[in-house]
Amino acid sequence: MLSTGQIEFIKGGIAVNIRSDGRKNNEVREIKLLRSHLICTSGSCKYEGEITIYTGIKLELGDQSQIKINVSSMKRTNDEKQKAQYLQELLESLYKTDMSELKVGQKGWVLVVEVFLLCQIDIAYLEAICTSINEAMSDLRIPTIKVTKNLLTEIEEYELLPNEPTKSFKCDKIYVVGKVGTELVKDMSFEEFYSVDQKLILVQGRNGNNKLRTFDSCGFDADDLMRVLVFIK
């Protein structure tokens, strides 16, 4: 926990556009993104900055096409497990998209996204987690599958063609431009990319359509909001 003096110093710095490490308000820390870092995944990314995050995407054939996100960290306590669960639900609600491109015959691809943090889970790392997932998604290679239907039995047969990977699927890109429950600047506006009315703003870009999302339009219920608030505390 920071002391009141430290918080005042940080707030005063943000008000005059100098943060405590010399950056301006709209400058980000230096980060390094490595694609295809994990060999045995269909798409992966290594995020190196103030923290390190490994993200890998595993492909499975299921009844319905969907995205599953699993978050885990180095620490293994009950409190950490609960935090990870909340973060998973939060991320899954953010990455709810149109999955029609992932359909294979009557079945569909299930993207299992594994996120591993080399530190404790914190809501402050949401931005870092989202960028690493975005990067892993753009690295994703889905193998083509040949579907043949038996006309007599009407059963579909699947044949994997691993040498012909496609990159047809484009997932939504989530950019966190504000933080939950933190008041950064007194007079905040959309141009400055900060949180308005203490809500989370996310820019979603898919097929060139950018949207600004807040908590109200994120599909969160009251329960979800409560969980987020508990999580922040």
Binding site: S3, G5, Q6, F9, G12, G13, V16, I18, S20, D21
Partner: protein, 275 residues
Amino acid sequence: MQIEENLQSDKKEVFLPGDLLSDETGFISGTNTYEEQGKIFSSTTGTINQTNKLIMIKPIKCSYQPQIGEIVIGQIVQIRDKKWIVNIGSSSEATLHLNSTYLPEQRQKTEDDEMNMRQIFSENDLICAEVHSVNNDKSVNLHTRGLKYGKIEDGLLIKVNHYLIVKQKRHFIKLNNNVNMILGHNGQIYLSNQDRTTNNQKVIYCQNYTVQQRIDIANTGKAIKFLQQNQFKISQTSIEKVLNYISEKKPQNDWITLIEQFFLEQKSKQQQQDQ
């Protein structure tokens, strides 16, 4: 890095916990060792240090061990009866008793003071104190008698490894760029614009920060962080050296590359001196 340097500088054999140090009779087991059936074993990882018949182990890496008279920066964790529990980064807890604090115009502490302890220091407050005594169980007693010590107002706290800090005559320092620095022995460095170097003043003034002061503090913080990353010792001279080098070159864009150049020059100088 530090571990490697320590090993290279000492060039001694490293003992692991449980390693036999001596099986001869007549030796005395010192710190970080234990005796079993007349034999002395190591209890931590480190190098051996022998003075006459006394065998000790000098640990390679350890938590901060406070000594009397050292200046530390800590955070209030808890308030108990007549005392505060302070986190100073050591393995055992540090306590600050109500009687060892400074109050203006006073005197003996009364019951009213005891009731209003939160007005002096509350939880999460940062304080600067001096180590008064170290008990047998390694718990530490602090004191804040004097205007230098006490609660620290707004500023920037930087945490570094405690073994990098050089012991100096003065730990309340005013740097060349008018940044006031408290160099805690426990590896916590506080940068602010409050002047604590003079003893004459009666009250420590809290001034609002100007933009230039904020830039200076940010630059000093960066310099300290780079010193830590490159495992250089942190002192007034080393920080001022880095800041002078930067101000001579007057960088507009690339602060980081300039600092890296500086460290490369320093390392090459050291190597030449060694040869």
